[in-house]
Amino acid sequence: MINRIFALLIRYQNIALGSMPRLISIFYWPTVQILFWGFFTNYFYQINEFNIWSSLNVILSAVVLWDVLFRSQLGLSMSFFEELWSRNLPNLFITPIKDHEIIIGLLMISFLRTILGLTPAIFFANYFFNFHLFELGLYLIFFFFNLTLIGWSIGLLVSSLVLRYGQSFEELAWAIIFIVLPFSCVYYPLSSLPEAMQTFSGMFPTTLIFEEMRSLIFNSHMNLINLIKIFFINIFLLLMSSLFFLFILRVVRKKGIMINQGE
């Protein structure tokens, strides 16, 4: 009996420690949880009675907008993974479909899945909590569009890595958003982070978006320069991730990975 249990232990240890993404997930999550709730608590200490309702509104807006990013990324990655899981990729790539047409198809399905997934959530938030996301006005379209761009960029990056390095990277599709969450200042302002981390977090386009969202809700004002910066950074990210996806397709054809996925 001990031998058999020991064999299982060795096997699970090999599975867990044998791949970098799995290894990272073991060590990363407890730290992420501590950091995230720590920063969040810091922020709540700073809130006074006067703006508590605005803060709750900010948090609900952040929840919905963060989900835009999450759904966009997951909608793209999962649609692509369906082809991998069903061992259908060679069938797809021997049709006259072009590589960039696959990217466009993935972006479009991700958009549809995001809209479909979020509509009931926004409806319930409106009905039960008297929370009006649409009060963000036209800026809501700007936030939605830019978070979608980031979601697509991350989705293309994850899909490329899974295509190139295999299923052990699939975990990344679920985890990557939460890896960047503590540094994206979604539920608390940049100022609630330690000073050393503020420079690092300030580089994330998600940080810029959520900082501007808070500024709009608290002060009814946004920084135009920051909005332009956000837009161009996100366009650049999408372009780079699309080029990376196309590059990985070339690598995969060179290495014969696509045909082996069916076997």
């Binding site: 069938n91 060179k254 069916g262």
Partner: protein, 237 residues
């Protein structure tokens, strides 16, 4: 001579190991061509390279007298592929899968073509079922439907009857022979089933260690090698 496939000095290496070595081959415009070789001889790599799934290390491939590298999408419109190791999305119904591929190949009159093919391959009753729920034999027949949707001028088959029962295998072989005769297409088939090769193929390509050892009609190959059975061609002297 009009050719379906013309390969010149084709080589492919993976991590420094040569899988295909300076292959030169010219196949007539139509006919059924069998590729025989031991495991690891390079059969699947050759098929995948012909479909653009693998980029060659060196050499040139021409299909219907057009360079594959330069005219890939034009050529892909005229070829198709079936393998029991490559499936269709399991959560989609047979009809949804077939209509999807018919769209990708820009097939005109899709509904009618799918209906006819399904009727010929005896899968009409399966159209509403999810692909994942089909048996191996049913999957093979549906995969074949997919492979014939664009009425390919070049059909590539990787062990098309592997792990099928005798009746289904026999049905598939007869259907493919009839398809080739009707549409004068070229069919390139890899198989370990020598009876299948003998029944279906006009020509044989013998691959050995990534090289074309021989290419001719079965009768000529047997005569040249002074052998009486195909398996003797594969066994070392």
């Amino acid at each position: 001579m009009k050719t379906s496939i013309k390969i010149k000095n084709l080589s492919k290496s993976f991590n420094g190991k040569k899988i295909l070595k300076e292959i030169n081959l010219e196949l007539p415009k139509d006919g059924i061509f069998g590729i025989l070789g031991k495991n690891g001889a390079g059969k699947t790599t050759l098929l995948a390279t012909l479909m653009g799934l693998i980029t060659p290390t060196s050499g040139e491939i021409k299909i219907f007298n057009k360079c594959l590298k330069k005219n890939k999408f034009d050529i892909l419109n005229q070829i198709n592929f079936q393998s029991p190791y490559i499936e269709l999305p399991k959560k989609m119904s047979v009809y949804q899968n077939l209509i999807f591929y018919a769209r990708l190949y820009n097939v005109k009159d899709r509904g009618k073509i799918i209906k006819n093919l399904c009727s010929e391959l005896l899968v009409s009753d399966l159209l509403h079922l999810n692909y994942g729920k089909l048996s191996s034999g049913q999957k093979t027949r549906v995969n074949l439907c997919k492979a014939l949707l664009n009425r390919p001028k070049l059909l590539l088959l990787d062990e098309p009857t592997a792990s099928l029962d005798i009746q289904t295998s026999d049905f598939i072989r007869k259907y493919l022979v009839k398809f080739q005769k009707n549409y004068k297409s070229a069919i390139l088939i890899t198989s370990h089933n020598l009876e299948e090769i003998k029944y279906m193929c006009d020509y044989l390509i013998i691959l050995e260690d990534g090289k074309v050892k021989d290419f001719d009609t079965i009768t000529n190959l047997l005569k040249k090698g002074k052998k009486s059975k195909i398996e003797e061609l594969l066994l070392n002297d």
